[in-house]
């Protein structure tokens, strides 16, 4: 077997896994603190990507990298405050239906504004170069992407670990009632937490846009694998989500070396096997972090 082909697909898998991680961490945050399964998460990813596409000609690529996810997060705050919040504490089915509907609206809105055809979103020229001829698939952009994901994940974990607000989010994951009895404005906490999750989705959108191209359906495509990443890693455990996302990304990438047609199915096989062996996921049962 050609090592280069294995490297190529393994590396692709790692990139894809990094997207799953960004998406799944945001989904996990929102699920853990608010009990909402955010089906609109993919929609936020697309919005982030398209906003960066629109902003870049005016403000440049680097500022867009932060501004687009921030605007996406603000949109998230508006939606949380006006709609999602009303369904907290009810049967999860309500918020699931709401976000499911929002996902369709997002997709159609992006289609209406930016067109049904994919639009190219090019990162700066110097980032698009491969680092060597042998490793033509390892462009500087892809390394840069990995670095951004790494920094974002590290920042998130530090935030949860060391800041007072992060500590409250971790506490609220298990017992929000007691957090509120200690004087913490849990409405604001949930809104902020929602915003952080949506920011990560927006960031994933910007990065994904530079890697492939922008499509209205791009969010829907990574949503399901992101849920799988959460389940494989163990619901409630953010480190588990991290491991789960990378694992299924790389597994799907490597599978495409031998059985290209099975590369999508393999993540569900992994999920089934993990659930059979460890019903609460790899790091479920009160993971390291939450």
């Amino acid at each position: 077997m050609d090592t280069q082909l294995i490297l190529f697909n393994g590396f692709n898998g790692l990139i894809v896994g990094a997207f799953y991680v960004l998406m799944a961490l945001g989904l996990s945050l929102i699920l853990n603190l608010s009990g909402v399964i955010n089906f609109a998460h993919g929609g936020f990813l697309a919005v982030g990507g398209y906003l960066a596409y629109t902003l870049t000609p005016y403000i440049g690529f680097w500022p867009s990298l932060l501004v687009a996810p921030t605007l996406t997060a603000i949109l998230g705050v508006v939606i949380e405050r006006t709609m999602v919040r009303r369904l907290y504490g009810r049967d999860p089915l309500y918020s699931l239906l709401l976000t499911f509907g929002l996902a369709f609206i997002f997709e159609d809105m992006t289609r209406a504004i930016w067109g049904a055809q994919g639009v190219p979103f090019a990162p700066p020229e110097y980032l698009s170069q491969p680092i060597s001829l042998d490793l033509f698939f390892v462009t500087y952009y892809r390394l840069f992407m990995m670095a951004v994901v790494f920094i974002a994940v590290l920042a998130l974990f530090m935030f949860l670990r060391y800041t007072r607000i992060g500590v409250r989010i971790r506490a609220g994951t298990l017992d929000l009632e007691t957090v509120s009895a200690l004087g913490v404005n849990v409405r604001a906490l949930r809104t902020l937490n929602f915003a952080v999750g949506i920011f990560l989705a927006g960031l994933a959108g910007v990065l994904a846009g530079g890697n492939l191209s922008l499509e209205p359906t791009m969010g829907a495509n990574v949503l399901m694998p992101s849920f799988v990443a959460i389940i494989v890693g163990g619901v409630g455990s953010l480190p588990g989500t991290l491991v789960g996302g990378l694992l299924i990304g790389v597994a799907a990438g490597l599978t495409s070396v031998w059985f290209p047609s099975a590369s999508e199915a393999v993540i569900y096989v992994i999920m089934a096997v993990v659930l059979l062996v460890r019903p609460r996921g790899l790091m479920g049962e009160e993971g390291v972090m939450t």
């Binding site: 971790r170 298990l174 004087g183 009160e286």
Partner: protein, 240 residues
């Protein structure tokens, strides 16, 4: 002046009507104790007072403000510390992190001072909540509430399930809080010891206040105290 006034609270869990017009007052700088057998509605009363299970009828006034419809965090932020039944320590957080959760209102209580009050906790700073003994969890739960710098401290059965020596320690701390000027509302099943430190007593049964008066007066009535203290959960009645 009353720190807290509850007037005619009717509280429900879904369709079941639990509190039937509970009224009580907590005097400033005093310990007011709520006694009653299992299932009498003591916890429900406290939950109604802090807004966790808002009453459907009635009025709650805390520090002169009508807090009846306030969300819990606003009530707490007003200066109401709550030590819940079962302590409700965050099991996944270290002792130190547990102390980072509460809103820090300005006042004398800081994490350093909590560690001074409970040296045991200082030794276990890096341990997770779930690794603590019942007594340590109770101390942490009280310390956590103190960080809010409360003017009113509400405790729900702090002595539950603790060894006698620790129980004594807990009661000593509660009495000390009163001496520092904090008004206290205490729910207890340990009748004798709570009467010892209390100023005012209410007895709750079946969601109604069936007795109220000074603690000294009730403590003097040995027959009643014995009946209340010795009663099992099943057969607990207030002798007239």
């Amino acid at each position: 002046m009353s720190t807290l006034v509850a007037d005619g609270l009717h509280t429900y869990y879904g369709k079941s009507h639990i509190l039937h017009g509970v009224s009580l007052e907590v005097a400033e700088g005093k310990i007011t104790t709520l006694l009653g057998r299992n299932g009498a509605g003591k916890t429900t009363t406290l939950r109604s007072l802090v807004g966790l299970t808002p009453s459907r009828e009635g009025k709650v006034t805390i520090f002169g403000r009508d807090t009846t419809r306030w969300p819990t965090f606003r009530v707490a932020a007003l200066g109401v510390g709550y030590v819940p039944e079962g302590r409700k320590i965050f099991p996944n957080l270290t002792v130190d992190d547990n102390l980072k959760v509460p809103l820090q209102r300005p006042g004398p209580w800081t994490a350093a001072r909590v560690y001074e009050l409970f040296p045991r906790l200082a030794e276990r700073k890096e341990n997770r909540g779930r690794q603590l003994s019942g007594g340590e969890q109770e101390m942490l739960s009280i310390g956590r509430a103190l960080l809010l710098n409360p003017k009113l401290l509400i405790l729900d059965e702090p002595s539950q399930g603790l060894a006698p020596l620790i129980v004594r320690e807990v009661f000593r701390v509660v009495a000390r809080m009163r001496d520092e000027g904090i008004s206290v509302l205490l729910v207890e099943q340990n009748v004798r010891m709570s009467l010892e430190i209390s100023d005012q007593v209410y007895v709750l049964d079946d969601g109604k206040v069936v007795h109220s008066g000074s603690a000294a007066e009730l403590a003097a009535d040995e027959e009643r105290v014995r009946a209340m203290a010795g009663a099992s959960a099943e057969e607990w009645t207030l002798p007239e």
